[in-house]
Symmetry: C2
Subunit: 329 residues, 2 copies
DNA sequence: TTTAGCACTTGAGAAACAATAGTGCTAAAA
DNA sequence: TTTTAGCACTATTGTTTCTCAAGTGCTAAA
């Protein structure tokens, strides 16, 4: 069991460590705890025994353990009001009615990265909820056309397609008409199947250059389902004292490049979730906070990556503010 | 004046240093130079006097100076044939006829970054050569429309536009018709002027919510002229031994984030240009190699950033290969 | 239960030292 | 005149040793 006083002590240690990044000694807390350093030491000892605190070496001050942060996040911290300055900066984005939600998310996370000095990620994915509403083809010149696909949710994707010189423009028109007839209303996830099993056999019969045309459209559509990744403020996390080591920095920058890893941060749960240290797949020295959003049939994840020694209360408040705003649109 | 033998010596030193990243001593070159270390030392001395070599400290081996690299690049190195493996990897991209040039550039530079372990940048800019060919509006629901703009060169830009609830859909239609009538054929750079000075006054007369509509379209079109930046392999440059220092790493990663700096690498000259150390605005410890491309009215810059100690011959050959391919399209 | 006092531990930084890799110079050899 | 061998000299790098400061754990008294 953890007493009230021990909780208070843990709170002070976590918050001091968040500020200073230095192990916290018993003397420094005498004032706040209104008791002697010896008393604090014995309480610290207990908190260490039950795994909430750690020492960096035998005679160092204490540092919160992963479990300690977890306890702090789950039981001690209380999300506050949005602080005035943070509020101000975000409001101008969030309240800008002429911005599309998608841009609001991108911009907001950019701002949050600046405000907090942590790294933020926006991971967007065109969801299968989107149904193809219209395919349009605009000829550019003899060998190039632009194909535009619009979904019922307002997503647009376009793709320039190179058509070798010996394809008849009438055949292109025919193919597009066919695509439009068969593909409208299909979920974007199944477009490639429809293309392969319904459209390919038909054009194979009456279009001479069917191979070429099929390939061109196939690559165009497969691009459509691509995920988008945006990382803001890579440098911020490097500035943290825990990354005062070239190898660690190299490691984390590599992780940001590795598309797989970044995509792995996709959140499935709907709340704001906190993954401390080994709880995330990213790096044992960081905390990742993520939440999922769904808007206009596009679903995605916004995430914030900072040191475990993170300003949890502030960050949570910021993310909640954004999330509420997105959801209420 | 630099004698034949001194040039040979400089070549050996540069190439050895490129490989090993360690100052080159006189003994190590006896074999290749077929003379004693003392002779080499006196030649090194001369090369140092005229500023082509440097010492890191009084009793260290020699390192090429900035001027030394410049001399090497201008007078000594000879671009080679593309090496087999490099060739193979690039060809599959470059020869893929169904890829658009733009994607070929992006992909190629990604590959080059992997092959060389340097960082590459692709900077694209929609050029004023593009004329608006068609504006299309697709209604999504009561409050959202998607506007699509296609240029004669095949560029497509789309933008979701939020329309407040109290705007009449007929008024939207009227506005779009007007835009289409007045804006087609305009260069994309002047679209915003046409919008402001020709279209705004007209809709102000007969469209009730003209302010709202105007603003929506204005922001949509202004996005159209945005530049795009793509950076590949940030981590690569960090792995170089010259970046064995946290502050240096932090500095260069910050530079990659700073949009201004990255945009500053835009190249105006048409050739393949080499900026060694202080010759570039990026960082004194790196060399930036850039070249401009223009394709379908879009102009841009491809750049490669590596240590000054760079495999110049190989890199130049690679970039020339890409450039030739783009230009001959 | 709390506190004062003290012995003890560790990391970080400074100083001292040796080993190494290289130079510059001089005088002899080619 | 050019090249080379030999030698004294000098930073750098890594290692060891030492001291200092910060903080702990334990014990005995309040």
């Amino acid at each position: 069991m953890v007493s009230k006083r021990q909780e208070e002590l843990l709170k002070l240690i976590v918050e001091d460590y968040i500020k200073t990044a230095r192990p916290v000694g018993s003397k420094a807390l005498c004032d706040s705890m209104k008791c002697s350093s010896a008393t604090i030491r014995s309480e610290m000892n207990y908190l260490e025994e039950i795994g909430l605190l750690e020492k960096t070496h035998i005679s160092s001050g204490r540092v919160p353990s992963e479990k300690g942060y977890r306890y702090y996040v789950d039981n001690i911290m209380t999300p506050r009001e949005l602080n005035g300055e943070d509020m101000l900066k975000l409001q101008t984005i969030v309240d800008n009615k002429s911005l599309v939600v998608n841009d609001i998310i991108l911009k907001s996370m950019e701002i949050i990265s600046e405000l907090t000095h942590y790294t933020t990620i926006v991971l967007g994915k065109k969801s299968s909820l989107n149904l193809v509403q219209k395919v349009e083809v605009i000829p550019i010149d003899k060998n190039n056309i632009v194909a535009i696909v619009v979904t019922d949710k307002g997503h647009v994707e376009h793709k320039s397609i190179y058509i070798p010189g010996d394809v008849d423009s009438i055949e292109i028109k025919q193919t597009v008409d066919l695509i439009n007839k068969l593909i409208v209303g299909t979920s974007i996830d199944s477009v490639s199947e429809v293309l392969e099993y319904q459209i390919k056999p038909i054009i194979a019969q009456y279009v001479k250059q069917h191979e070429v045309l099929y390939n061109a459209f196939y690559t165009a559509f497969s691009d459509f389902t691509n995920e988008s990744v945006r990382v803001n403020g890579r440098k911020n996390i490097l500035m943290q004292p825990e990354f005062n080591d070239t190898d660690k920095i190299r490691d984390i920058i590599s992780k940001f490049e590795d598309k797989e890893i970044v995509k792995n941060i996709k959140e499935e749960d709907n709340g704001i979730n906190i993954y401390i240290g080994s709880e995330n797949d990213f790096d044992d020295d960081v905390t990742v906070i993520k939440t999922k959003y769904t808007i206009n049939g596009e679903e995605g994840t916004i995430a914030l990556i900072g040191p475990k020694r993170m300003e949890y209360e502030r960050v949570i408040t910021l993310l909640e503010y954004i999330k509420d705003n997105i959801d209420s649109r």
